[in-house]
């Protein structure tokens, strides 16, 4: 078994009296898709925000690729290879789709204090950006303004931006949120295609997608881990079924 790429130990986050993350332990191995599920308010997005650095935990440590990143800022973690897609689509609406991704490439292609050369003609930015758009199936939409893309396309664009940073760890916060059946299926195929080459922490409500994609599943309830295991083990776990899954998912 490969060593864990991401190791979370004793993580605590309080919002006033509310324990959003309650002494949470979690390990994600390199190359696996690790899904985090749980009812609304279980603290899934709060967890993602702490992993990415937008929220500071009150206690606990986050180790990434062998180093303690608990105190690092979001941009520092991004440079180390943690990429995030947001639950609510977060793109640059006034730029073209290609510019959106090129900016993501630029974030990991040296410093950005160059002030003379046009970024729009820089092959070192455009070529990988185009490749990432192609990867998610948006190649022919590259010159459309991002705000004018359909909702599903914007979600794909966000994934392309995350991929363009060549991340070691992808934090996907409900990538299928608000998608139609067709778009969701395409997204499942996309994420499935990352298996093996990327490490993914996937927060998702769509149980079909989760059980189709995940190597490991962690069930979160009230900020604490109820269970972690393979999809089969989680499906068979009586406590999980009582607390969250309900009977309709039972095989």
């Amino acid at each position: 078994m490969a060593e864990a790429l991401l190791e979370i130990a004793g993580l605590v986050k309080r919002f006033g009296g509310l324990l959003a993350t309650d002494n949470l332990h979690l390990a994600v191995r390199a190359g696996e898709i690790h899904a985090v599920i749980g009812p609304n308010g279980a603290g899934k997005t709060t967890l993602v925000a702490q992993l990415q650095g937008e929220l500071k935990p009150d206690a606990g440590t986050i180790r990434f690729a062998g180093a303690d990143v608990t105190r690092l800022k979001p941009h520092q973690r991004a440079v180390r290879g943690i990429a995030r897609s947001f639950q609510i689509t977060s793109i640059f609406p006034d730029m073209s789709a290609l510019d959106n991704v090129a900016l993501a490439v630029q974030a990991h292609a040296g410093h950005s204090f160059g002030m003379w050369r046009s970024a729009a003609t820089e092959a070192a930015l455009r070529t990988p950006a185009l490749a990432a758009l192609e990867q998610v199936g948006l190649a022919e939409r590259g010159h459309s303004v991002a705000a004018h893309l359909a909702h599903g396309e914007q979600r794909q664009l966000e994934l392309a931006m995350a991929l363009a940073t060549r991340p070691q760890l992808l934090l996907l916060d409900e990538p299928m949120a608000g998608m139609g059946k067709e778009d969701a299926e395409r997204m499942v195929r996309l994420i499935g295609g990352l298996k093996g080459s990327h490490t993914v922490l996937l927060v998702e409500h769509d149980m079909d997608a989760v059980f189709a994609l995940a190597d490991q599943i962690t069930v979160l309830v009230y900020g604490r881990v109820l269970a972690t295991g393979t999809p089969a083990a989680i499906r068979a776990n009586a406590e999980v079924r009582r607390a969250y899954l309900g009977d309709e998912v039972a095989p």
Binding site: K73, F92, L103, G114, M115, E122, L125
Partner: protein
């Protein structure tokens, strides 16, 4: 399509025609024996430089600096104070003015860029007012009354600034140079970061950009450009005064940017010309000219949302390419 291409032709005509007019203005003014117009247009060009520099951070970076006139004052005082002590050499005056305005911008930026929104506006305003009162308190350099400068910057015979025509062409050259620099900068990697941070700062951080650092550099560049405008202003008027830094002056710069068209670099040049021309014309009719100027500005902002330059069908690239009315309210 035809409407678009007609606009492109119109825009090219206005821009190149405008440049041609600016180039022939000095001999024309001399022929017509109207030296006043040369001074007026020089003044317009200097404020165009200041407005352009503000647009760099306001239009592209959404940094609403309400204290941009501070750098106008720093540049002007650098010239004034050095001249007062008998130092007129350009190779001292210009570097001192540039370094001084860059330093002041760096200090103001370091503090104010920690905030955003209304707080950013208030802090930049407060800093500029501090400098304004500092100017008033400098009794040795004229205090409230300002400081008369007895000689213009000395370029050692290469450029003779004693001639108003030479000063005019220097100002025009600086404006065109800054315009070119600004356009390159906006299209560069650095410009992409500044625009990205305006569009979605949270996303920029998630991608790995330390946005504040880039913003600070942009802030310093804009402040330094405006400092150069201050150097030129002191040379034009042979005078420097705390009034250059007053908050109403900062407000005027913002009006120029918005009136001309934010986020276009060329727009603020139109804005500077329009505002100063309106001021000139209206004040010849009545001393309460501001009473008329206000409604005129409101009408322009209401009916030409992308400013004067927007009327020429330009600057669409940053406006989500959609019909302006349907786009997000960028300003």
């Amino acid at each position: 399509m035809t409407a678009t291409s007609r606009r492109i032709v119109l825009r090219a005509l206005v821009l190149w025609g405008g440049l041609a007019l600016l180039l022939v203005l000095p001999p024309a003014a001399a022929l017509a024996d109207q030296p006043f117009y040369l001074t007026l247009v020089t003044r317009m060009l200097i404020f165009a430089i200041a407005a352009l520099s503000l647009d760099l951070i306001l239009g592209y970076g959404a940094m609403v600096s309400f204290g941009h006139a501070a750098y106008l004052g720093v540049g002007a005082y650098a010239v004034g104070i050095l001249a007062y002590h008998g130092v007129n050499a350009a190779w001292i005056q210009w570097p001192v003015a540039i370094v001084a305005s860059a330093l002041v911008a760096a200090l103001i930026g370091l503090v104010s860029l920690r905030t955003s929104g209304v707080y950013f506006i208030m802090i930049t305003l407060a800093f500029a007012q501090m400098l304004y009162f500092l100017g008033i308190s400098l009794k040795i350099y004229g205090g409230d009354d300002g400081l008369t400068i007895n000689a213009r910057t000395d370029f050692g015979g290469v450029i003779d600034l004693a001639s108003n025509v030479v000063l005019y062409y220097l100002v025009l050259a600086v404006l065109l140079g800054f315009l070119l620099l600004g356009q390159r900068l906006i299209a560069s990697r650095f410009g992409m970061v500044i625009r990205g941070a305006k569009s979605n700062e949270r996303r920029m951080r998630a991608l790995g950009f330390p946005t504040v650092r880039y913003r600070l550099v942009a802030f310093v560049i804009a402040g330094t450009m405006c400092g150069v405008a201050g150097v030129l202003l002191a040379n034009l008027t042979n005078f420097t005064s705390p009034a250059y830094m007053h908050w109403t002056r900062s407000g005027e710069l913002m009006v120029m940017v918005i009136l001309g068209g934010m986020g276009s670099l060329i727009g603020p040049i139109f804005g500077a010309f329009a505002l100063l021309a309106l001021e000139e014309v209206l004040s010849s009719y009545t001393q309460h000219w501001q009473f008329i100027l206000g409604p005129v500005l409101i009408l322009i902002v209401l009916f030409a949302k992308r400013g004067i330059y927007g009327l020429l069908g330009a600057a669409r690239e940053s406006a989500a390419a959609g019909p302006p009315a349907a786009g997000p309210p960028h300003g």
